[in-house]
């Protein structure tokens, strides 16, 4: 734990990152930007896991392990998302969110 820093402060920071991510996810008009927002959200939750693990249950390691899993899943997800974006770009020459609407029905 960090000397002089309470859990509240860390959680405040992660909450802010989380909602910044949500804001980006909803307002950005480009698929890659949306992906970036997702990374922010994921990171915020990963930090939460670690912080709570460290502050409340220092002997356990579950939070850390879960963070590792989150990072792994994020890597997989990013790889897939990028390949989808590239494929989409090849098909419709655009990675704008509004151009993906044609998939609705």
């Amino acid at each position: 734990m960090i000397t002089g820093i309470s859990l509240y402060e860390i959680l405040t920071v992660t909450s802010i990152i989380f909602f910044v991510g949500v804001y980006g996810f909803i307002t950005r008009k480009n698929l890659i930007s949306v992906l970036i927002s997702i990374e922010l959200i994921l990171n915020a939750s990963a930090v939460n896991f670690v912080a709570i693990n460290k502050y409340l249950y220092p002997e356990a390691l579950q939070g850390v392990v879960f963070s590792i899993f989150i990072i792994a899943v994020a890597a997989a997800e990013t790889a897939l998302a990028v390949s989808i974006i590239i494929n989409l770009y090849r098909q419709i020459s655009s990675v704008e969110v509004k151009d993906t609407e044609i998939m609705k029905y």
């Binding site: 734990m1 960090i2 000397t3 002089g4 820093i5 309470s6 859990l7 509240y8 402060e9 959680l11 405040t12 909450s15 802010i16 909602f19 910044v20 991510g21 949500v22 804001y23 909803i26 307002t27 950005r28 008009k29 480009n30 890659i32 930007s33 992906l35 970036i36 990374e39 922010l40 990963a46 930090v47 670690v50 460290k54 502050y55 249950y57 220092p58 390691l61 850390v64 392990v65 963070s67 590792i68 990072i71 792994a72 899943v73 890597a75 997989a76 997800e77 990013t78 790889a79 897939l80 990028v82 390949s83 989808i84 974006i85 590239i86 494929n87 770009y89 090849r90 098909q91 704008e96």
Partner: protein, 167 residues
């Protein structure tokens, strides 16, 4: 000392996160994200999880960011300006996020956390044992599942990104 570092990191993270989601240039946005990720890695160092910090730097900063930059380079002109949504919508979403943040913070600050004072340092070996242990609370099965997931993602990415009609 740690407080100063923490606040500095927090400031960096928040500022660059906001910059990242509001920048109108794609590549800059990705680089801002890199700063955020580095800041978080700094968090991990501060909190004494060196291994985690290392992963954060290698996988995120080293891998994912490079991947993102690649895709940006492939599909955009670097100087291209991104479109921005309407002001009304920005405000609406911003308001929603603020309310959500408010709910979060109020909940967090009204919850009495039972903090255990400690200075335990976790070594990489501990995490390794935990990950590969098949005793109670071991993570061998999720670990294997994640391995398979990564493999599947790799194959999937190759299949999806392959040129259409090349099979």
């Amino acid at each position: 000392m740690e407080r100063i570092i923490f606040y500095t990191l927090a400031l960096i993270i928040v500022v660059f996160a906001i910059a990242s989601v509001s920048s109108r240039k794609m590549l800059r946005s990705v680089i801002y994200l890199l700063f955020v990720l580095c800041g978080i890695a700094g968090f991990y160092f501060l909190i004494d999880y060196n291994f985690l910090a290392a992963i954060q730097l290698t996988v995120y900063a080293g891998g994912i960011i490079v991947l993102l930059i690649f895709s940006v380079m492939l599909v955009h002109h670097i100087e291209m300006e991104l479109e921005v949504v309407k002001k009304a919508r920005q405000i609406l979403v911003g308001l929603l996020c603020l309310i959500g943040l408010g709910v979060f913070l109020i909940t967090i600050y009204t919850h009495p956390f039972v903090v255990v004072e400690n200075q335990i340092t976790t070594t990489t070996a501990d995490i390794g044992y935990k990950l590969l242990s098949y005793d109670d609370g071991g993570f061998i099965l999720p670990f294997e599942v994640i391995s398979v997931l990564l493999l599947a993602a790799m194959i999937g990415a190759i299949v999806i990104a392959k040129k259409v009609g090349s099979e």
